[in-house]
Symmetry: D4
Subunit: 220 residues, 8 copies
């Protein structure tokens, strides 16, 4: 697995990460991770690889777009000195274009999204062991739905950035498409964005698969 | 307009009607209608046709399926002696098949739905001036989405029943399809079911158009 | 209709507009408009003219008088760059003279009211497509009631200002007088000021009639 | 004064008496009287005539009409063995005719009102030292207002009953008319029904004047 | 009566005045006076002398000692431009000596009390029509109780100051002694300090008697 | 000490014992004893005599009089099979005579008190190892205060009953008199009834002294 | 894996299972499973084996002992017709012996525990595909701690029963012992009983390992 | 006893002292001490030695380590001018090493602990009559438990410092070991740190024994 003994793994993102994590820092005694996929990932890392003593921090903030991450990156990411940064951001960059179309100042268009995202990578990479990128998603299997189509553009940006900087990339949108072969999206999320417990575990599993997590690992 | 002086118009249905209406009866002083499309319809009827002094009662209950209506029909509809009954029911009959597929006892399949619905019509018609039927809907424009496709089956059942009993039928699903020419569904409802204020007003307008409401009416 | 594609329509006023609208700005996802006539107007504009994609903002603040509007006009109106400003203010300018007569510093007398109001018009008109004025009102049909008589003075000031600046003027007081041919005011508001849902819809209808809203409009 | 040493004085009525009095019986340690005119009267009786050790009980219930009093008269009045019963009831008998005209089953018309009221007198008189009647009121000085005119009919019924049974009668409507020579009703009550602290004291004073209370009394 | 048309009468003191009065200023619409003797006095002044349109302000703060009044005198008294200032302060100056004897820094001894109190008089008199002083009290009839004895010292200071500056002085301690001829103090206050409704009315009556209030006054 | 290994010691009484003890039985994990003197006694017994493993149960109920104990004695005392019953009851039997003199049905006069109390002793003694009686008290050092004098009558009844049945009797009134040589009662209780933490410990100490508790005991 | 398509898997137990699961049945939309290991197991089953559409129900109740399970077994287990029953019960049977030693009626001793547990197995086995037993545990690595030693007796009972009835048995106590090679128990649970998120995941993993869950399973 | 008439005794520490003590200073009327061992000690000092009129202040803050005490020592200890300072600190210095091992910046290692603690002694001794030190503890009788072993190191530091500065030292760890001869630690604290009422009393007793408290003292 990518993560090594005593590494700090920081998760940054929006409400998908947040799920009532502790403020100001999503780390510490009792439920500081909230109940999102970050908690699932943290609990799996801690229970399967106890000997690594990994430090998992959740810094997701509900409603965030890439713009918000730029504003709080220094205090919320760099100052915490992570070894690894896992990013899941972009859903709100897209969503606002569709749920409040009259408010264009809240829309982060693809160009800005790519620019924002890349600036965060460049600012971070020199100081960490690595970054893990996740594509934003919309749990709409119909690829011709306008918001799904738009989200796919943003996903492509992430895949390109991951390739350019040789970073692990978790294609969550593709993963959901696979899952929805077996069920309707409303079995995971009424709003097609915020997963239930099964959906959170699903994201965590995609992420861990992408970092070489060995599910049958046995701590000696 | 169908409704006449001093008529009682009762709305029955699920959470789309409920929206925190007053218990046990959704009528009376101050916000007894809740904030759903029923409140919009009631307020429009009262402000545009004040001389009719219509009595509007909201008996929607969140989560209801046709089965639940049967169980409470006597106390919640018949005992209130309405002149008109407006029905919007069926979304939960379908939804449970997709958001909790493992619980088949919560699924109301088309046959049962048709049977339940028709029994309510037969039980009611002899005692009222008329009934107004609304098709259940799913704010998913993609007609090949499984839940949308299923909902269309239920809508067809309503249209058939309306034709059989010569009742006004408001095709809400068709109306939403028209609206979504101009916006994405998430501008109205994140879960594609529960409309925001604009969406509630939209339903109320479809309903009133279907009962001959004259928008330019002037009370002398 | 006066309002055109992508226009921003801002409502400014007192508790009649406020009704728990969102802070600091009454705009955005889910119930940001509160439940006043502004919400009715916004929902009607959005559901009948979806193709215009109008932006509706509610900036009412409970208890406000014209003095308060002056104090917050820059941040709460000008900085939001509206195309249209709809104003309903003055009830509290009058009311305090009658419900707390011992506190003269809270009374806004007619001269000051006219001065305050006109200054707002002059400050705004150069930057907007138009303004819509509504007369303050007291739901007291008896014109010799002292507070009603006083309110009529303030209404006359608004009508004069509307004429002077050639602005649409909605005479709400006159409209209520018409409605109360059919019911007692306490059927709309126990305190003769804050309307129930029917009354809010009634105000919205007066307003929309005054801006050329076509109730039978059909978005292609 | 009518009330004598160790007498029990029970107040019965609607929300004008209730004002959050203690349940099930409005008597006892600390604020059991609520904050209505009953509390004012009780506090004046206790502080000016401490040597009488009067027992004051508040049994008002918000929203009550004469019908409700009949239903609870045995438990809420007779079983408490009062020496004196002070009644203020009828406002809701009238109000519902105007604030919810569509719900005729909630209207208590004059005939029923007189019948209900007289039955309570007949049921009570044989068991008490006396009863004190107060007219229902509407704080509307305009006697041609329909609800005020209606309320005056009910007041006349009370005056007639008081005369017939030779009971003290406090004409609150007339008293308010006098007070409103000096202020607008909204200085006392926004809804023209529920008085503020000054208005509660005003009612208490009318009542006490009617039972021979000596304001300059000095307990030896 | 001392108070004249349009006078502002300000009450200043401790918890005996406070009783949840409104912040920052105990004046205005609906229950701003709290429920203490100030509310009783305000309601009596307003209902018996409506033609005077007196302005009554309650600025009591729970727990206050004379030291606290000095600190907030400018903002809480002088800046409000009262015509009359009614003071009831000193109970906490004494009480702390007995309920927390180990904390001498919270004790205001007689010398300081006299000095503090007189400085407030001198600071105020040039700017007002008059002041009304009330003696602090302890509802303990036993004059040899140490706290009662101490309180009597403070009462004497007030009587002396009232004489020196020729101000009306209400001897509340003496009044309570009279009342307790007829009942035990615990019928008024469990802690012998904070009166129930009857006790609040009793204080209000003493105060009004001291300013020439005519209980049989009739507004023409 | 009277109490022996594995004995159950039950405390019964009024609010002095209650202090938010757990319902329905004041025993069990975490703070089931509330915070009264019972908790002090239980904690002292448990920490000084751990080897006895005593079972301490608090069954006090706020506001109780001897009448109430009779009504709940079977379920709240006998059914719990105590080895020892410690009783502190009577304060409310007396207090109601003074704080609500108008309500004689709430007064438990000396004869009834003695009768009630003795019946409880007779009903209990055959089933327990012993009972411990505490005199009711009023923290008023002035023995000529009417309520103190009355309380002394009730204390004498307890002392007589204790002598008659040869039960340990803790004279709390006498103990308070001793304590108040050193401080004013308001340092312990504002209402002269409900002790603060120091006062609760004081009662517990009196009680334990009366049952032979050895403060210097050392568990081997 | 043991569980097959459309199987219902019911979890029964105490607070370790409960963690605020939904009442009366821990199944359905949104967080009905609470946040215990049951939620972890349910989410892993749903996300890794979506094609099985397993139905997972959580019926844990905080504080339960085997006695409580017997009382509610019919309604809470049998009536729900599970295919599989997973049991984790016994911690409270033991714990009460140590945290409230004075209350022997709350102690379930080994004999009764074995009897209770076996009766549940016999009652259930004829109606289900299988049962999965988990040993109760105490996160105390020191095997000579009295409560740990006692818990080991109970664990042995479970292992024996599992052998006798040929049921899968998850030895949680042994699993914790392994984990605590890498950390102190207080890193998982302050009270050595209720695990944090990492601990819940750890239990879920032991359980799933015991039923043949394939962590690398891929739904086609 | 060490403490003398009018002395101020200040308790400083972590959550063991805090238990919801009043902010900002744990002193004053009604429950300002919270419910920890400090309250027990204060109540015993006040009720057994009333003539000393000791002043007891609780300045414990939950979660504190020695680092935190250094930061707030001036305002929270020195500025309050105590005569005696009783310290119980160190549990969190150790605990964090075991319950969040991944966060080394929260661990206070033995060297720092000794340094921090000694600096507080040196800073304080010149200004007080004396200090009383208590060893930190872990209610784990097994001395080979890693956290217990670690805690013993910290206890030794305290004993050494007490010897060096000739201060009374209360060895709480040893005392608990004695108590747990008679019961399991979970009878006192589920988390082996925060004692129930019996445990708080136990600590208070150890402390008082260490300062020469005479349990049989009688105030003349």
């Amino acid at each position: 697995m990518l993560f090594q003994k005593n590494d700090t793994v920081l998760f940054i993102g929006d409400s998908i990460s947040d799920y009532e994590r502790k403020r100001p820092v999503g780390e510490g005694l009792r439920n500081a991770w909230g109940t999102s996929y970050v908690a699932c990932a943290g609990a799996l890392l801690g229970s399967v690889y106890p000997e690594l003593a990994l430090r998992v921090i959740n810094m997701g903030v509900s409603g965030n777009q890439t713009r918000d991450l730029i504003a709080r990156w220094q205090t919320d990411v760099m100052d915490l000195h992570p070894d690894w940064v896992c990013m899941l951001i972009g859903i709100n960059d897209v969503w606002r274009q569709f749920d409040q179309p009259q408010m264009p100042e809240t829309h982060v268009l693809p160009d800005e999204y790519a620019r924002n995202y890349e600036s965060l990578i460049q600012r971070t990479l020199p100081h960490v062991k690595g970054m893990v990128l996740m594509t934003p998603y919309f749990m709409e299997p119909n690829q011709s739905d306008p918001m799904r189509a738009r989200m796919d553009e943003y996903g492509a940006i992430i895949r390109d950035l991951a390739a350019k900087y040789r970073l692990p990339c978790i294609d969550l949108q593709a993963a959901w498409d696979g899952l929805f072969q077996h069920m309707h999206p409303c079995n995971i999320a009424w709003d097609r964005v915020h997963p239930n417990q099964t959906g959170c575990m699903f994201i965590a599993r995609q992420l861990l698969n992408g970092v070489g997590f060995d599910w049958n690992h046995c701590a000696e």
